[in-house]
C-alpha cells in the first residue's frame, strides 16, 4: 500500500516547477494572454523535449509510456502556474487517439503529437451545458469520397493554438470523431473571462473528411473521455487552488490592520484553515481518480465524480475568498490572485459541475 508519489514522480514535479518558474512565470503568462493567441511555440517545444507531451503515449508511438498518476504531477504544476499553453487539451486529444484510433491512425498521429509537432484538441459537445452523447449534434453527410461537414462547433478549447482538431459529430445518426486540420476550417475567437483557457467557435463549410481521418466513437468512449477531461481539469484545479491559498496565506501574515497581521484574526485564519481542508480533500480524491484510470478503470466514474463533485464548488469558493481576503488589492488587475478566481470560474462547469457529478455519485452509490 502506497498512496504517495515515487522518487521519480517527485523529480518530475521539481522539473515542472523549475520549468514554470524559469520559463513561464506569471509575468510570461500575462504577456501570452495579452496577445490574441497565448501559444508560445518555443515553450511548447521545450515541453515536448522534456517528454511531457508524450508522457502517457506508449513508447512504440514515440512517447514515454507512463501513467495518469505521472501526468497528474505535471498538470498540478502547470495548473499552479496557470500555464496558458494547450497542455490539457493536447493530453485529452492524445488519450482520444489512444482510445478510439485504429492502429494506423495511432502510428500516423501519436508520434507527431508526442514530439510537439501536431498540437491537438478535442471538441465533444455542441451543447456545452450537457455532458451526454446526445449533446453531439454536428452532422456529417456521407458522400462517395468521404464525409462532408457543415456547421459550427462552439467554444472549442485551445482551437487557435492547435494544428488539428478532433471533432465529435454524427454521421447517419451515429457518433464518430473526425481529425481535422485547423487550417481547413475558420475560427471565431471566443471571449471567455479566463484568458488562460482560450476557446473559439469552429466553422465547417462543406469540409471534406476522408475515411482515413474518421474514428469510431460510442457512448462508453464518450463518457470515458469526459471522465478523463474531468481528471485533467481537476488536477489543474488542485495546483491552482493551492497557489491561491498560498498567496492568500502569505498576504495574511504580512498585511497589518488594527496593529496586527490579519492572519491573527479568526475570521481570516479559520477561513484559511477551511480552504486547506477542502483542497486537501479534493486533492486526495483526485489522486485516487488518477490512479484508477490505469489501475482500476471500473472505479474511474465514481472516483472522478467524487473529486470533481467536491472540487467544482470548493475551488470556486477558494477563488472568491482568496480575492476577498486580500481586500481591494485583490480586485486589481495587477495582482495575480484574481487570475485564480477566473480559473476557478472556468473550471467549475468544465467536464461536469457539482450537480452533474454528485448526481452520478448518487446513482453509482445505489440511490
Amino acid at each position: 500500500m502506497n498512496f504517495g508519489f515515487s522518487e521519480e514522480q517527485n523529480l518530475l514535479r521539481e522539473q515542472v516547477l523549475r520549468f514554470m518558474h524559469e520559463h513561464c512565470p506569471m509575468s510570461r503568462v500575462r504577456e501570452l494572454i495579452a496577445s490574441d493567441n497565448p501559444f508560445a511555440a518555443q515553450l511548447w517545444q521545450q515541453m515536448a523535449d522534456l517528454g511531457w507531451l508524450g508522457l502517457i503515449t506508449p513508447q512504440q508511438y514515440g512517447g514515454v509510456g507512463l501513467k495518469w498518476v505521472d501526468v497528474t504531477v505535471v498538470l498540478e504544476e502547470t495548473g499552479r502556474g496557470l500555464c496558458p499553453l494547450p497542455f490539457a487539451s493536447h493530453l485529452l486529444a492524445t488519450a482520444t487517439v489512444l482510445r478510439c484510433g485504429s492502429p494506423s491512425q495511432r502510428s500516423r498521429w501519436l508520434p507527431a503529437m508526442a514530439a510537439g509537432h501536431a498540437v491537438c484538441t478535442l471538441a465533444l459537445c455542441d451543447d456545452g451545458n450537457w455532458l451526454h452523447p446526445d449533446a453531439v449534434t454536428l452532422t456529417g453527410q456521407r458522400t462517395t469520397d468521404g464525409v462532408r461537414i457543415s456547421g459550427t462547433k462552439p467554444l472549442v478549447g485551445d482551437a487557435k493554438a492547435c494544428d488539428y482538431l478532433i471533432v465529435a459529430l454524427r454521421i447517419d445518426g451515429k457518433l464518430a470523431l473526425a481529425g481535422v486540420a485547423t487550417d481547413s476550417v475558420s475560427l471565431t475567437a471566443a471571449n471567455g473571462l479566463d484568458a488562460t483557457k482560450p476557446a473559439a467557435d469552429v466553422h465547417f463549410d462543406n469540409l471534406l473528411i476522408s475515411e482515413d481521418d474518421l474514428l469510431p466513437l460510442d457512448d462508453a468512449d464518450f463518457h470515458y473521455l469526459c471522465d478523463l477531461g474531468a481528471v485533467i481539469t481537476t488536477a489543474e484545479m488542485v495546483g491552482a487552488a493551492e497557489a491561491a491559498l498560498q498567496m492568500t496565506s502569505e498576504y495574511a501574515k504580512e498585511r497589518i490592520q488594527f496593529g496586527k497581521p490579519i492572519g491573527q484574526y479568526q475570521g481570516v485564519k479559520h477561513r484559511l484553515a477551511d480552504m486547506f481542508v477542502d483542497i486537501e480533500s479534493f486533492k486526495s480524491l483526485l489522486y485516487y481518480a488518477a490512479w484508477t484510470v490505469d489501475d482500476a478503470p471500473d472505479e474511474l466514474p465514481k472516483a472522478i465524480s467524487y473529486a470533481k463533485g467536491y472540487a467544482a464548488d470548493a475551488f470556486a469558493q477558494v477563488g472568491i475568498d482568496a480575492v476577498g481576503l486580500h481586500g481591494a488589492i485583490g480586485f486589481t488587475a495587477e495582482y495575480d490572485v484574481q487570475m485564480y478566481l477566473k480559473r476557478s470560474k472556468w473550471a467549475r462547469p468544465a467536464y461536469g459541475d457539482s450537480d452533474y457529478h454528485l448526481e452520478r455519485v448518487a446513482t453509482l452509490g445505489g440511490i
Partner: protein, 386 residues
C-alpha cells in the same frame, strides 16, 4: 501509487477475518459472558496494544497491519479490543515513553489485560480549550503530592479505577505551559469525589471530580515535575489513524441510504428527490475524502515523514458529518424521526434521534472545531497565534 497488500499483509487480513468469523457472533446472539471472553481472545492473539513494542507486551505491529486490523474490526462491528480506550490510546503510550521501569511493570500489563480502566483528568471548569492554563494544584510534601482542585468532563470517571491527571506544581511561571505535572492517581484515593453529570442525550458518562487533600505518592508522577505538558501533548498525538472511523461512517451512510429508499416525502419516493440525492452524494464524497486523506497521511507515516497537524483535517470533516448525517435522517423522517428507543414510531430504533444528541462526543471532546482550525492555520499555514 498502489493499493496492493503484500502477501504477509493479505495473510494478516485473512487471519483477522477468519478469527472474526469464528469468534464474533451476531449482536443479538452475544451472551452476558461474551465480552470477557472476547477480550481474552483478542489479547491472546496479540491484537490489544498491537502496535506497542513486544518488550511491553505488544506485538510490534506495523502501520498497515494496524490499519487492516482496525478496518476489519469496524467492518465486523466488533467490540473494542480492550476495556480501557484511554489506557490504550494515550495512557499506555505515555507510560511507555516517559514512565519509570517500575511504572511500566505496574501499569502496562493491566491495560493490555483489560483489568484496569483509565480516565483522563485534563479539563477544568475554567480551562478547556486553554488547557495549559489549568489550576488544579499539587504541592510536594514529603514523599507525596497533595492535590487540591477540580476537574470536569472526565469521561468514564464514574467507573474508572485510575486517572491520568494534569496538575499545576508551580504557579510563578513565565509561560503557562511550564509548571504542569502529570500524576497517575487511583480513583479510590481518599479525598476524591466524583459527581456524574447528565448530558443532553440522557447519559451519565462524564463527571466532575473534586480533589481535597488527595495524597499521591511521588512515585506516581509520570515524567519529571514540570514536564506534564510535553508528556500529555506527545501522548495525545499518538496514533490518530482514521481508518476505523471511516469504515464506520460508510456503514452509517449505508443505513442512511436504506432509510432514504424506504421513505417518502410529500408522497413521493425520497430517493427521487434531486435535493435528497445531492445531499447523500455530498456525504459520500466527504467520507471518501476522509478515506483518501487518511491513506495519504498513513503513507507519509510509513515513509517515516513526520505528520504535522494534518489529522485535524479529518477531524473537521468528521465533525460536520457527525452532525449532518443524523440530522438529515431525522429531517427525512418527519416527526417520527424524533422518537427515541421504545417508541412505536421510532425510526431505526431511535438511533438517529439519539445520534443527533450525541455529536458533542466527537465534535467537542478532544478539541473543538475552532481549535482544529487554529491548529491548521498556525501550525501548517504558519499564521500568527491568536
Amino acid at each position: 501509487m498502489d493499493f496492493e497488500l503484500t502477501e504477509t499483509e493479505q495473510a494478516f487480513r485473512e487471519e483477522v477475518r477468519n478469527f472474526l468469523e469464528e469468534h464474533l457472533p451476531p449482536k443479538d446472539q452475544r451472551g452476558p459472558g461474551f465480552l470477557g471472553s472476547w477480550l481474552e481472545k483478542v489479547r491472546e492473539r496479540g491484537w490489544v496494544g498491537f502496535s506497542w513494542p513486544a518488550e511491553f507486551g505488544g506485538s510490534d505491529g506495523g502501520l498497515i497491519e494496524q490499519a487492516i486490523l482496525k478496518e476489519e474490526m469496524a467492518l465486523a462491528k466488533a467490540p473494542p479490543l480492550g476495556s480501557s480506550f484511554m489506557g490504550l490510546a494515550w495512557v499506555g503510550p505515555g507510560i511507555m515513553r516517559y514512565g519509570t521501569q517500575e511504572q511500566k511493570q505496574r501499569f502496562i500489563p493491566d491495560i493490555l489485560d483489560s483489568k484496569v480502566i483509565w480516565c483522563t483528568g485534563y479539563s477544568e471548569p475554567n480551562h478547556g480549550s486553554d488547557l495549559a492554563a489549568i489550576q488544579c494544584k499539587a504541592v510536594k510534601t514529603g514523599d507525596h503530592y497533595l492535590v487540591n482542585g477540580q476537574k470536569i468532563w472526565t469521561s468514564g470517571a464514574p467507573w474508572a479505577q485510575w486517572i491520568i491527571l494534569l496538575v499545576r506544581t508551580q504557579f510563578d511561571v513565565e509561560v503557562k505551559h511550564q509548571g504542569i505535572t502529570c500524576l497517575l492517581v487511583p480513583m479510590d484515593s481518599p479525598g476524591i469525589e466524583v459527581r456524574p453529570i447528565e448530558n443532553m442525550a440522557g447519559d451519565r458518562h462524564f463527571a466532575e471530580i473534586f480533589f481535597t487533600d488527595v495524597k499521591v505518592p511521588i512515585e506516581n508522577r509520570l515524567g519529571e515535575e514540570g514536564d506534564g505538558w510535553q508528556v500529555t501533548v506527545s501522548a495525545l498525538a499518538n496514533e490518530r489513524s482514521s481508518i476505523g472511523e471511516v469504515t464506520q461512517m460508510f456503514e452509517t451512510l449505508d443505513r442512511l441510504k436504506t432509510l432514504v429508499k424506504q421513505t417518502t416525502r410529500q408522497g413521493k419516493p425520497a430517493s427521487e428527490d434531486p435535493l435528497v440525492r445531492r445531499r447523500l452524494a455530498v456525504f459520500e464524497t466527504r467520507i471518501a475524502a476522509m478515506k483518501y486523506n487518511g491513506l495519504r497521511y498513513l503513507t507519509r507515516q510509513i515513509k517515516g515523514e513526520p505528520l504535522s497537524s494534518e489529522t485535524s483535517v479529518n477531524k473537521l470533516l468528521r465533525a460536520s458529518l457527525e452532525i449532518e448525517l443524523a440530522d438529515f435522517a431525522i429531517e427525512l423522517s418527519g416527526p417520527a424521526g424524533l422518537e427515541l428507543r421504545g417508541s412505536d414510531h421510532a425510526v431505526d430504533g431511535g438511533s438517529w434521534a439519539k445520534s443527533s444528541l450525541n455529536w458533542p462526543n466527537v465534535v467537542i471532546g478532544g478539541g473543538t472545531p475552532n481549535i482544529q482550525r487554529n491548529i491548521i492555520s498556525e501550525r501548517i499555514l504558519g499564521q500568527p497565534k491568536d
